[in-house]
Amino acid sequence: MNRIALLALAGVLTLSACDSTEVEPVPIPAQTADDIEADPATSFGPQGPVGNGLFTLFDLDTGQVVLSSSETDATARAADSTGTAWDIGFRATTIIFNNGISGPGSVRAQFLPTTPFAELTMAPADGYLADGENTCPAVQTPGGTFPGAPLVVCGGSDNGWYNYNPAANVVTPIPGNTIVFQTSEGDYGKLRVLSYYRGNPATPTENDTARYYTLEYVIQDDGTRDFQTTDN
């Protein structure tokens, strides 16, 4: 009986939705990019991983890696890293954008520390920066403060996208933050980091392999700032 009532109700709702001339906007489906290498360890010192010290460069429009951190050939790297095909780069916990001090591109981005990814329905009109233009939160000490590296996404635990738990030796994305950007192609997008560990384990431990980003992101390819769509 309940089921019948529900079906009837659903039918009424569907009919009324169909009757309506306005279509309810829905969020643009998010994409994920799995296990982007971010200079994973090539060897282990007694105290931790040692990588190549190189960035992986990623194109958000196509969802493709342009240049992997495992590519060590200087010529190949120079060719790609000086181009504008890539939007975002990853090396361990550092995130860069192709602009300003990080590259020749024109990507603009900003870090929204207290806006959950799903709740951001419209990219802000302004506030975008290039790497090098930011003022990162000072590291506070009782004896004084000092500026962080001026990247769009500030480095350091608790300053940007992650925190580091020294007891568990685990890097975890801080919930509630979103990175909004405009790619070199002019598309607005938003992203957040889901995991720093290969395979996106639910509760990573120090035994998981670090420096593999899983990203969730949305690209609005119509040039507007709206992360919702009425297209179905």
Binding site: S43, F44, G45, P46, Q47, G48, P113, T114, P116, F117, A118, E119, V139, Q140, T141, P142, G143, G144, T145, F146, D158, Y162, N163, N165, A168, T172, P173, I174, P175, G176, N177, R192, L194, A202, T203, N207, E216
Partner: protein, 779 residues
């Protein structure tokens, strides 16, 4: 401080404060005077009262009393003292006569007022103590079948034993770093990552364990911020000779053997025991190499003696303990394989505690104490296959103290304690290397404390205390405390106290000078920071110095302001209820912060006073003797232990969680699980049924869920999988004893964790149901 050494004074303090001359007498014609004695010994502080009136006095330190009589003719006196049967004596006084009336008292068979020493550094009846105090006596410990201090503390209402580098005791929601553990009033040393493992200490030979909650730093100094646990021993009474042996065996190859002997004479007494405690350990994760709890053998030898030289007493307490343990673990090598390692540890610690107590006239007593202790550990990790040494760490701590305390009994209304002392502490070991000048880490401290107790009337008592600590390596501080006890009517007690507590910076926070060769970062304790940064700078290793360490002031001790209130009511002779509340505001918690950046991109860390937390809670206890031989006690505690910074951030709405579906959601204060390892709700239950020498005891303890980790990146416990689910554990112990020609035989059997509750790897100290049996023989 030995309780025995104080037995005269003790009585004055206990009852004398309360039994007062309420109306100063006008010149009175007739008087009664004499000496109150028992077995020829004067009873200081005995209360002498005109029967059925409030008129009375208390005996002086030599037992003498003098009381004016309002009228001539027959009179009756009621004489009482703690530990003695109350007696009534009658006399007759003619007008103007001075009647001589000596009074003999008989020692009470059952001591109704339990005497404690920890709360005020002087013997005092438990019911006269104005701070929350719990006593577990030897009989309770025996009925429970407890072996180690942790077994006792886990059943004390409001306390938790929590696994973190050993079993540490949480008091009022504080990590175990903040509770001072004493053996006969002197600090037990040796902490690992802040935890003093309460299972290191056997309860063999203990007369009682006193637990004082709330700060006692105004008397004891550092570490007594959350509370004080004191293991108190007692000397055998004159004319006694006892000896005994006890063997216990249980699950996981647990064995405990105690052999003890005690002799008491008129002029001296001595007691000694040897304890061997061992276990095969156990493994809750058989799929991975290495036990959850390693196998170990622990030996403790203890000798205590006392000699009476005239009026003074000389006592000596010594203890030595050695533990060897063997465990194992698997370590992931660079090629990803798991390689088994064997870890071995050895701990040696000892203490020597001579004390001399001498009366100075009628009103004063001087107690001089020396205390020396040493704690050494050796840790080795070796590869199982070839014995290759992976890791080695040695630690050596030495502690020396000299202290003098004067107890002054000015009158029945006023009592004062003054004390002063010095300490010297030395460290050695792999992490505590000598500084540039070649000096190993060492610290000196001078301190002085004072306490005054004032009882303006039968219904009120006020105690004020303060302590000054000047330390070579952190800022000097003054720590006060004030407590009030009110007894508006019989059977009802109200207490309130406000005080400060502090905890000195830990050794690593003061003396560490450590550079991680592989990772490249450096950490310096506050005394090493300036030198360390200068040295790195001189070597050209620094890219940027954020500030000049030379400009920093001394590091401060972590300190608190605390409020405690409580009420205890005896609703019926068989029913007592108690309720209380506490609030601790703590500031200057010490954390590592970056001081400079190195050219290799890594940081140089120093230690600074930054964090603030609070813990507050309510507790309630009920104890009943509903029928002969049946005793039931229950307790409940509500606790909030929180980080101020997190509370403020939550109030601002800037903290989010990420649920298991990946959705980020804004957290409110109610999502905050508090400091890790703290349960907001907890309860205990203890039911004891006794018939003659036989007893059965059922104990239960429940704690609600508590946060243990952060998985969603906000540094706090908010998601269900970040909590250890709440649990209740019940233990059952059955005891009986018989007199035989060979001596007295005691048999005991028990089941711990009756319902086999486990929390897998999250609570390694909870392996599930275990059983044990004990057989003892004593003469």
């Amino acid at each position: 401080m030995s309780r025995i050494a104080f037995s005269n004074l003790d009585l004055v303090l206990i009852k004398g404060l309360w039994i007062l001359l309420l109306s100063p007498l006008a010149v009175s014609a007739q008087t009664v005077e004499g000496v109150v004695r028992s077995g020829g010994q004067p009873i200081a502080g005995a209360s002498v009262r005109l029967a059925d009136t409030v008129r009375g006095t208390s005996a002086g330190a030599d037992g003498t009393y003098r009381l004016a009589l309002p009228s001539e003719g027959p009179f009756r006196l009621t004489v009482s003292a703690v530990g003695y049967e109350t007696t009534e004596v009658a006399g007759t006084a003619a007008v103007g006569e001075i009647v001589r009336l000596d009074i003999d008292m008989v020692q009470a068979q059952v001591q109704t007022d339990r005497v404690v020493v920890t709360a005020t550094r002087s013997p005092k009846a438990l019911e006269d103590v104005a701070v929350p105090t719990t006593v577990v006596d030897a009989e309770t410990i025996r009925q429970q079948g407890a072996l180690r201090l942790g077994d006792v503390l886990e059943d004390v209402p409001g306390l938790f034993v929590f696994d973190d580098h050993g079993g540490g005791v949480q008091v009022q929601g504080f990590a175990s770093d903040y509770t001072l553990i004493l053996l006969d009033g002197e600090p037990v040393i040796g902490r690992l990552a802040g935890t003093l493992d309460v299972d290191r200490l056997t309860v063999a030979g203990v007369d009682r364990i006193e637990v004082v909650e709330g700060p006692s730093s105004s008397l004891y100094g550092s570490e007594a911020l959350a509370g004080v646990v004191n293991l108190v021993t007692a000397m055998p009474a004159p004319g006694t000779e006892t000896a005994g042996a006890r063997l216990r065996a249980g699950t996981f190859g647990e064995t405990d053997l105690v052999a003890e002997a005690a002799v008491g004479r008129q002029r001296w007494a001595a007691r000694a025991f040897v304890n061997r405690y061992g276990s095969d350990g156990y493994d809750l994760t058989p799929e991975s190499f290495g036990p959850t709890v390693p196998s170990f053998t622990d030996w403790t030898g203890d000798f205590r003696s006392e000699v009476r030289l005239g009026a003074s007493r000389l006592s000596l307490g010594t203890r030595m303990a050695v533990e060897d343990q063997t465990g194992g673990f698997a370590r992931r090598e660079s090629d990803g394989t798991q390689v088994p390692y064997i870890d071995t540890g050895r701990r040696v610690d000892w203490s020597v505690h001579p004390e001399w107590a001498v009366p100075l006239g009628d009103r004063f007593q001087l107690t001089t104490t020396l205390y020396g202790a040493r704690y050494q550990t050796e840790t080795r990790f070796r590869r199982q296959s070839d014995g290759d040494l992976l890791y080695s760490d040695d630690f050596d701590q030495r502690f020396g103290k000299a202290e003098a305390q004067v107890d002054a009994l000015w009158s029945a209304r006023h009592a004062t304690i003054l004390g002063a002392g010095i300490t010297d502490e030395r460290l050695a070991g792999d992490r505590y290397t000598p500084d540039a000048a070649g000096d190993a880490p060492n610290a000196q401290q001078v301190f002085a404390f004072a306490q005054h107790e004032w009882a303006p009337s039968r219904a009120w008592a006020v105690s004020a205390s303060a302590r000054f600590d000047a330390h070579s390596d952190y800022a000097a501080r003054l720590t006060p405390k004030l407590s009030v006890l009110a007894r508006p009517r019989d059977g009802l007690r109200l207490r309130a106290s406000v005080g400060s507590g502090f905890k000195a910076p830990a050794f690593r926070q003061l003396y560490l000078a450590f550079t991680n060769a592989a990772a490249g970062y450096s950490v310096f304790g506050s005394t090493r920071l300036e030198e360390g940064v200068a040295e790195l700078d001189a070597q050209g290793q620094l890219a940027q110095v954020f500030f000049d360490p030379a400009l920093l002031g001394d590091i401060e001790a972590e300190s608190s302001v605390a409020f405690n209130v409580g009420v205890a009511a005896e609703l019926a002779p068989w029913l007592t209820v108690e309720a209380g509340g506490f609030w601790n505001e703590v500031r200057d918690l010490i954390e590592a912060q970056p001081v400079a950046q190195k050219t290799n991109g890594q940081s140089v860390f120093g230690y600074f006073n930054v964090n603030r937390i609070y813990t507050r809670g309510l507790d309630a206890q009920i104890s009943m003797r509903p029928a002969g031989g049946l005793e039931v006690a229950g307790s409940y505690q509500f606790l909030q232990a929180r980080d101020r910074e997190i509370v403020d951030a939550l109030a601002d709405g800037g903290v989010f969680g990420r649920d298991l579906n990946g959705r980020d959601y804004r957290l409110s204060l109610s999502d905050y699980g508090g400091l890790f390892g703290r349960s907001p709700h907890a309860a205990t239950l203890r039911t004891t049924l006794s018939r003659g020498d036989a007893s059965a005891q059922l104990r239960g303890r429940w704690r609600s869920r508590y946060g243990f980790a952060d998985f969603d990146g906000n540094r706090l416990a908010n998601r269900d999988d970040e909590f250890v689910a709440g649990y209740a554990v019940f233990d059952l112990t059955l005891t009986n004893s018989w007199s035989t020609q060979a001596g007295r035989i005691t048999a005991q059997a028990g089941v711990d964790n009756l319902f086999d509750v486990t929390r897998a790897t999250l609570v390694p100290s909870m392996p599930g149901r275990t059983v044990f049996a004990t057989l003892g023989l004593s003469f």
